[in-house]
């Protein structure tokens, strides 16, 4: 079976700093990583290949440097990597991104065989929108299975798939049909480390590089900023509250003293809480 997985190279958000004066993002020197949620999807794809055979193609849209992330994915054991890169994609919102990726997936299907499953992570850690997966599913007319915690079974003969999906208040068990798009939940898999040999091989492997034209996209007005219905008008830092927190004095006092003062302060500000806390504590 052929599995396509979409990954994204993202800045390691834990290391992003905001310039204290200009309030702009300081991107210099911020390392990039594969979006962590995508790694769960990649692991799931590799596991399915282990069981059912076939190939895993990893796809990303991004600047030329996104090739690094694809090489890492090859190092984990993916069979093929495709980098969709073109200046026309710059500034894509989720609608334009799902358009470009779906076109590339269609082209991958023509070139390397039609995918049975397209995977994405449940969301990215930079955009956090969770919209690109559903966008791809809709455009390629794949059945859409989001927030999948577990793939229970796949039958390649009947083309049926059963999954457990995270829903509000519980877990939904669904049966659907291949081909489908799955967005994968976190914590589903222990992520494999590729072997040293795989990593060395990955460094020499070829990454397929496609421009918009290579991916068969002829309508460039649907890409990048021009193809994005949403527009970012303003980026700003949140305004500070007029007053900083009132400080409880901790100098030369016992912890119990401080704790008593804090509680008195809380209950002076919110007298109604006294009853509620006493009631809830059930003492």
């Amino acid at each position: 079976m052929h599995i396509v997985i979409c990954i994204k190279q993202v800045p390691d958000s834990a290391q992003i700093r905001v310039h204290p004066v200009t309030n702009t993002i300081m991107r210099q020197g911020v390392p990039t990583i594969i979006n962590p949620y995508d790694l769960f999807a990649l692991e799931e794809a590799l596991k399915l290949r282990d069981v059912h055979g076939g190939e895993v193609t990893v796809l990303t849209m991004g600047p030329p440097m996104a090739e690094d992330s694809l090489r890492k994915a090859l190092g984990y054991g993916a069979d093929r990597a495709v980098l969709l890169t073109d200046r026309y994609f710059a500034g894509s919102d989720t609608l334009a991104t799902s358009f470009a990726l779906s076109q590339a997936i269609a082209k991958i299907g023509e070139t390397f065989g039609r995918p049975d499953i397209v995977f994405t992570g449940k969301q990215t850690i930079d955009g956090d929108t969770a919209q690109v997966g559903p966008g791809i599913a809709k455009r390629l007319d794949l059945s859409q299975l989001t927030y999948v915690a577990k793939i229970a079974s796949i039958d390649l003969d009947t083309r049926e798939i059963e999954v457990a999906r995270r829903a509000e208040g519980g877990t939904q068990l669904l049966k659907s049909r291949l081909p489908c798009l799955i967005t994968m939940l976190e914590d589903t898999n222990e992520i494999r480390r590729g072997s040293l040999q795989q990593a060395l091989c990955a460094a020499r492997r070829q990454v397929v590089k496609w421009t918009a034209a290579d991916a068969g996209i002829d309508d460039l007005t649907r890409c990048g900023l021009r193809g994005s219905p949403t527009v970012v008008k303003r980026v700003f830092a949140p305004t500070a509250r007029a007053e900083r927190a009132a400080q409880i004095d901790t100098a030369e006092r016992g912890l119990q003293d401080i704790a008593d003062e804090l509680i008195a302060d809380i209950l002076t500000r919110r007298p109604a809480l006294e009853h509620e806390l006493a009631f809830n504590s059930g003492t």
Binding site: A130, G169, A237, E276
Partner: protein
């Protein structure tokens, strides 16, 4: 909003970046819609929060507020309609059909897309729940319109455009996003970001009923079952009145017990900031912040949490925020109401003890007398 446009040159606008005269086929898009999410017989509270916010937007635009209810024929849908009116809807669109008994993307996306194409809302709001995000992404793609995820603030601009504000860059800054030349303007909002509006029983409003344009046989995905969460094991953080949370300042996973002890002593829910989930110290459903749960408790105690904006947007709605942190320059002191510069690991046990003393039946009797 001249101030907004003055700050824009950093971002080169594309075709969508400049507001043009709306194309003719979008001109009759009016009214504000809120999708009401039915969750196993009940309306998800986020839908009421959105009706409250939708009411404000509709009043500013001087248009009507409509609810959308999709579900199986019967009481469940009728109850949801009554609730929609009670929380401010002027009218409710209903699609009730057996295939809508359980959520599946296909029939729900079809029903909502058809409704939009028929009745043309200017603004469409959904909760940023697993259901809402699954549905909104497909509907926006089919309609080829803009969708802004996980907004923390919604407003109507002087020219009537929806200004949707959300955290960006992994939560370090906020940005305001517009969908200027496409309709509807779509946004999702996380539970608890908006306050719950006042419920007012009012006479039934207008109801518009529609048919679902597909039947069960057309639907590829089938529901095999549903395993409800074990309620006692599930954190009900979003709707808790009192929350205690720990952050990296606690130093080690075992110190989270101090947070749990305090929470138990005052009948609170406990939670944590994002890094602790990433370290595997606490399960993801206890995470508070933009990518976790948004909370609006009456009292929030943050222990050893520095207060990055990721966390801030998740707790800003709390009535009273108490911060305990060793670093006097921690950003949390910028938005907390009460601060203590001290080591949470030492202070939490003392606070737990002091609360227990204060809340003991003996002191309560004293209070009563």
């Amino acid at each position: 909003m001249s101030t907004a446009s003055q700050t824009t040159p950093r971002i080169a606008p594309g075709r969508a970046g400049v507001k043009k005269e709306l194309p003719d086929h979008f001109k009759d898009y009016r009214h504000v819609w809120v999708f009401l999410e039915l969750e196993r017989g009940n309306v998800h509270p986020v839908s009421f929060e959105l009706l409250g916010e939708g009411r404000k937007l509709a009043d500013k635009l001087e248009v009507q507020l409509a609810g959308v209810v999709l579900g199986p024929p019967g009481e469940m849908v009728e109850d949801a309609v009554a609730e929609a009116f009670a929380y401010g809807a002027d009218l409710v669109y209903i699609v009730d059909a057996p295939p809508l008994a359980d959520y599946r993307n296909e029939p729900f996306a079809k029903a909502l897309t058809d409704l939009v194409n028929t009745h043309k809302p200017e603004i469409l709001l959904l909760g940023a729940t697993t259901l809402g995000r699954d549905l909104a992404g497909s509907v926006a793609t089919t309609l080829q319109t803009g969708l802004t995820a996980d907004c923390t603030e919604l407003d109507v601009d002087s020219d009537g455009s929806l200004a949707a504000t959300r955290p960006t860059f992994g939560g370090s800054l906020l940005c305001t996003i517009y969908t200027l030349n496409y309709r509807p303007q779509m946004a999702t909002v996380r539970p608890r970001v908006m306050p719950m509006p006042q419920r007012v029983d009012k006479p039934v409003g207008r109801v518009m009923r529609h048919k679902l344009s597909l039947v069960e046989d057309d639907i590829v995905t089938k529901v095999l079952g549903f395993l409800p969460d074990n309620q006692s094991a599930m954190a009900n953080l979003a709707y808790a009145d009192v929350v205690v949370a720990g952050g990296l300042g606690l130093g080690a996973a075992e110190n989270l017990q101090l947070v749990k002890n305090l929470a138990r002593a005052i009948g609170a829910e406990h939670g944590c900031s994002r890094p602790l989930v990433q370290k595997g110290w606490m399960p993801a459903d206890r995470q508070i912040g933009q990518t976790g749960k948004t909370i609006r408790p009456k009292l929030y105690i943050a222990a050893g949490i520095s207060g990055a904006i990721q966390h801030r947007v998740g707790v800003e709605g709390a009535d009273l925020i108490v911060a305990i942190n060793t670093d006097p320059n921690a950003p949390i002191f910028e938005f907390a109401h009460l601060g203590i510069v001290t080591d949470a690991i030492r202070f939490l046990p003392a606070l737990t003890e002091a609360f227990t003393r204060r809340l003991s039946p003996h002191s309560r009797d004293k209070l009563a007398s």
